[in-house]
Structure formats: C-alpha cells, structure tokens
C-alpha cells in the first residue's frame, strides 16, 4: 500500500502538484541554500498553539538563533504523506501518544544523552506507558475528565456511570467526536472494570454511547468544547482537563470532577531523515529544561513531564493539572497506547460509521 502511496506522491511532486494535493503545507522556507534551517512546529490550535509560540518557539529562537514557525492544525494524513515521501516540512508535530507508538519505526533513535539523564525525574502515569522510549521522550500529559457547569443546580456526575445515566441526571452531554478515550469511558460506564478494558470491546462501547445518543452534543476541537461549556449548550462534558481548567481560571462557572479521570501521555519524536535533526535535538533539550516546562505548563494547562517542574508550580495552580498527585491518585488509569497503535483505524472507522449515521 505504501509503495503506491509513495509513487503517487512522487509523481505528484514531479509534476509540481503535491503542494496542492497536500494542501500546500509551507514549502516556501525551503528556499535557496542555508535558509532551510527554520523549524516548523505543528500543533492543534487554540491556547495550545499560543502557549507553544510564547513559551517554546520564541524563547528557543532567542536563545539559539534558530528560527521557529508554529502552525496548526495537526493532520495525520499530511504528516504521514510527508514521512512516506521523505519531503518533511513539519519538523515537530504535537502527535498523540498512540500515534508516536504506532509509527515508532519512523522515528530517529534519540541520543542517550537525552534519554538517560532525564528518565529518572519524569512523571510516571498510573500503570501507564513508559515515560522514555528509545525513539521518544515524554513531553507532558493530560487527562480526560468530567467537566461541569457549577450553576447547573442539580448534582454533577461523579463517575462515568453517572455521566452516561441521563435519566438520573438529565441534561446534555458534550463529548469528543473521536473514539480515543471515549470508548474507554463508555465501557467503564457499562460496568467493565478498568483492569479488563483492553482489548476494548468497540461495539459494546458504541452501543452504550448510542443508548444516550439523543442527549449527546459533539465537540471536534478544544475551542468547541470550551464554547459548548461556556454557552451552556451542555452542562456536562467529557473534557480535556486543561481546556476546562482554562475556562474555570478565567472566571467561568466551570469545574472539573477528577474521579475516574483517564490519563494520557505525549512524546517528543524526530522523524527519520530529517535534515534539521540537530536543531530538533536542541529543541527537545530546551523543552526538557524544568523552567521551560513550567512556563509551557502554565500557558497550556498540560502537565509538565518533569516532576521537578511539577513541584515548582504553586498549589493553587497545580490543582488544575492531571499530574498533581491528588489528581493522579483519583485517576482510573492511563490509555493503553499499544492497543490504540494497533486498532486506531478500526476503532475510528466504527466510530465514524456510528457518528455519521
């Protein structure tokens, strides 16, 4: 399959059409000669993009003189096409943990200087994935948790079972239009203990979701999640903890229920054959420094990867982070990246068949 894909892309490149097919993903900085050292960072948009710009890209550029560009959104199709065609224009991509694991053969083995020195001081998620792999290093974590409006009157769901029990707690539920994490919480709600979740019973999870379909509204991005919580379109949401925390900290009547929160990790990786490998290693080193992690965490709401950085965040801010020890203790577990690496396509196809119906 990848052979025809590659020949398709190469034929396209030869004809000069690939930038059009791929949505013109910024080849202009290639230019003549040495100008090609600009690092392009790609993330999901919204406050994460602003946070990366202000706390990573700008200070890194000031410190090293390497120009950094930040764009959005992440598109796995475009990124994989770049990796397979060898025409990389996205240097650092804010990929989810499962994606990093699924494509681990496509990443450079990181220098031991990075992987050995920091390993001992990284946040370890409950029962979860390794913080350091030969090809990647933890760059932070977040949690899926129940967010709710505090002005709703009725009690809020305190478990995923209650979240799906729309007769006991009436009201719309805003959920992620994406199976990742959603299938887990649907199965937890259906009575599957966390220890028996994997391999996920996709059909059972979707049946559970379908049983409350009339009460569901869907979000596709962090901004949409925030808009739905803010407008009151739904009093309860399956939320990224950082996006709900940002609303609460800006004075909105929104809070987080940490019980049964589902944790997940991200990795910094470098695609093989990247001509800017040296620059990317400097970038990863820069990101690993605790003081830079604190700034990034405060700007984006993602937990820092380093326990040192986490301990430097004041208690009133720290309580909004998934790696804050009391929140870690309430976690139901972490997403199984190996299962998702193998089953993402199946799960997503089934999810879309259900959601699009």
């Amino acid at each position: 399959m990848s052979v025809t894909r590659r020949s398709f892309l190469q034929a396209g490149l030869a004809l000069g059409v690939a930038p059009v097919v791929l949505g013109a993903c910024g080849t202009s900085e290639g230019g003549a000669g040495g100008a090609a050292k600009t690092i392009t960072m790609v993330t999901w948009g919204g406050s994460t993009q602003t946070g990366i710009k202000d706390t990573i890209a700008a200070p890194f550029q000031r410190q090293t003189g390497i120009p950094v560009r930040v764009t959005a959104p992440v598109d796995y199709g475009k990124y994989l096409a770049q990796i397979k065609s060898g025409e990389l224009t996205w240097d650092w991509v804010d990929v989810e943990g499962w994606f990093a694991v699924a494509h681990s053969d496509d990443w450079e083995i990181l220098p031991a200087s990075i992987t050995s020195t920091t390993a001992s001081s990284l946040v370890q998620l409950p029962g979860g994935p390794k913080a350091v792999e030969p090809w990647g290093i933890e760059n932070g974590s977040y949690s899926f948790a129940i967010a709710y409006r505090t002005d709703h009157g009725d009690p809020h769901p305190k478990s995923w079972r209650e979240f799906f029990d729309t007769s006991a707690l009436p009201g719309k539920r805003s959920i992620y239009n994406y199976p990742y994490g959603m299938l887990e919480v649907a199965l937890l709600a259906d009575g599957v203990p966390f220890g028996e979740l994997y391999p996920l019973d996709i059909d059972r999870a979707i049946r559970k979701l379908n049983s409350v379909r009339g009460d569901l509204v869907f979000w596709n991005s962090g901004a949409e999640l925030q808009q739905q919580l803010q407008s009151g379109a739904a009093p309860f949401a399956f939320a990224w903890n950082n996006r709900a925390a940002a609303l609460a900290q800006s004075g909105q009547p929104v809070a987080l229920e940490w019980a049964q929160n589902l944790q997940d990790i991200g990795y910094d990786v470098i695609p093989k054959n990247n001509p800017r490998k040296a620059e990317l290693i400097s970038l990863i080193n820069f990101r690993a420094a605790p003081e830079n992690q604190v700034a990034y965490a405060l700007a984006t709401g993602y937990s820092p990867a380093s326990t040192v950085a986490m301990s430097k965040i004041s208690a009133d801010r720290a309580k909004w982070f998934n790696a804050y020890p009391p929140n870690l203790e309430q976690a139901v577990g972490s997403i199984n990246l190996d299962w998702w690496a193998k089953n993402f396509d199946t799960a997503t196809s089934k999810w879309n068949a259900w959601a699009n119906a």
């Binding site: 025809t4 398709f8 034929a11 199709g77 379109a233 959601a355």
Partner: protein, 296 residues
C-alpha cells in the same frame, strides 16, 4: 466566429481563400486564448484528479474501494444525505433568488444598485468566518434562539447550533448570491416590453408571471442551480462547523479517510464517486437548461 463562418458558407458568396485562412488564424487565436486556462487547469485539477482515480484503483489494485463504498451503509447514508441537503439548498436558493433577481432587474436604479451591492458584499466574507458567525447566531443564548424566545416561540434552552436547520440556512446563504447573479444575468437581457405587451393584451399579473416572466428566467435558474447544487455537494466547512456528526456530508467522510485513518484509497474512491455524482448533476441540469432554452 459565427460572422466569419457565415461569410464563407453564405450561398452565392464568391470563393474566398482568405476566408479559410482567416478561419485557421481565428482557430489559432482561440487556442492561444485558451492556453492560460489550460495551463492552470491541467496541473492543478486534471492531473491530480487522474492521480486520484488511479490511486482509488491501485491501493490495493482492483475495485475493492468502490465495493466498500457501495456496501458501506455509512457511505450510502452520507452520499444520500449530501444529495438531499444539496437539493434542499438549491430549491430554497431558487425561491429566495427569483423575486430578488426580479427586483434587481425591474426595480429602480437605486434599488438595483442596493440589491446587487448586498449580494456582492457577501462574496467578500470568508466562508469560515460566516460559518462561525452562524454558529454564534444559532447557539444557545444567540440571536436566533433569543429572538424566538421573545416571540414566545421557544423556551430558554433552545440551541439551534449543530442542527440540520443551521447547516441548511448557512449553506443557503452561501448559495443565494450565485443563484441571484445567474438569474439576474439571464433575465436582464429579456425585453421588458414583452411583459408590457402581454399586459396591454389583458393578461393579469399572475398569468404574465406564469407565462412570460418565469419561463424567461428558467435558463438563469437552471444555470444557477448547477452552480449551487454542485458546490453544495462538495461542501466541507459549513456542515463541519455548524452541523453535528449526523449532518456530515461526503466531503467530511473523505477527509476522515485521508486525515484520520490513513486510507487514501477509500478516500480517493469516495472523491471519485463525488465527482461522478457532480458530473451527473451537471448533465441533468444541462438537459433542463436546454429544454428551458427551447421553450423560452
């Protein structure tokens, strides 16, 4: 072109070798004039389309992706939904655009300037901005639900964002300007004295409208319908932003195959089906147009 040809073919005209020469020259000029469009279309449209067709049949080799499209309940539902939404949007656009275009042609100069400027204005706003504006207008607490509430037509919890209604309204707003401009362009060439003559002969307003005005608008309506229907079919942004997953259209399904599940073959097959449906729609509207043109 026609005048040159008529010089040559006119019965009894003297033999004119220069005429044939001029014809060849004219054909050459035509080809040169077409060149910029071809230079643009071949690399950025025709070749990628051909590659897409190729990919849909070779990744893996065979028609398995087309079989998957045909046997998938989701694909069928989404394609039928796309057709239904596009048809609804086209019909509503016609209903809105016919009186609008009529007033733009027959109204006073000032009214015409105002109406056409209003249509022209909407073309300056990006479709993304408009989609998010509609989202704000339709969302709970937005202008539309608040107005309905003041009129006692809705309760405080009404949320019209992420509904089929929101998708249709937002897409109609996108379609109407094209429909208006298309009808306006064909209708303004119609002689107003035909209507006056009918009135003098005693035809009432309804009879005049039915037998004179509307038939003369039909070519414009048919042309506008092609544009609106075909562009609506491929719509991606509007249903993605203002709709819910159960309003998703074929463009979103294609995007999911390419961006999420890395299934370029199936995505390409879906795109080819979309192109085929668009071409079919184009042919059907052309037939209607010719039929209307024959009648007008």
């Amino acid at each position: 072109m026609t005048s040159v040809q008529s010089n040559v073919t006119e019965p009894g005209a003297p033999f004119d070798p220069d005429g044939a020469h001029r014809d060849r020259l004219r054909a050459l000029v035509d080809q040169v004039l077409l060149a910029p469009a071809l230079i643009l279309l071949v690399p950025i449209f025709l070749l990628p389309s051909a590659l897409m067709l190729y990919l849909s049949l070779t990744d893996p080799v065979g028609v398995s992706h087309y079989a998957a499209v045909l046997s998938s309940g989701t694909a069928r539902a989404v394609i039928l939904r796309s057709l239904a939404i596009s048809l609804e949007v086209t019909v509503i656009s016609v209903i809105v655009a016919v009186p609008y275009a009529y007033l733009s042609v027959r109204g006073s100069r000032r009214l015409r300037a105002l109406l056409l400027a209003a249509v022209g204005c909407t073309l300056f706003f990006s479709v993304i901005v408009r989609a998010y504006a509609w989202l704000a207008l339709f969302a709970k607490g937005g202008v539309v639900p608040a107005t309905l509430r003041v009129l006692h037509l809705a309760g405080p919890d009404l949320n019209l964002a992420h509904t089929r209604l929101a998708v249709i309204v937002a897409m109609v707003q996108y379609g109407v300007p094209y429909m208006v401009l298309s009808i306006y362009d064909s209708f303004r060439r119609v002689d107003v004295r035909v209507e006056q003559a009918a009135a003098i002969c005693g035809a009432g307003a309804i009879l005049r409208w039915r037998t004179i005005t509307l038939p003369q608008m039909l070519p414009g309506i048919a042309a506008g319908s092609v544009i609106v229907f075909v562009t609506s079919l491929g719509y991606y942004i509007i249903p993605a932003v203002v709709g819910s997953p159960s309003d998703s259209m074929i463009g979103q399904l294609i995007s999911q195959q390419i961006s999420l599940t890395d299934n370029w073959g199936l995505g390409s097959a879906l795109a080819c089906v979309l192109m085929l449906v668009s071409v079919l729609a184009f042919i059907i509207f052309r037939r209607v147009n010719n039929w209307a043109g024959g009648r007008a």
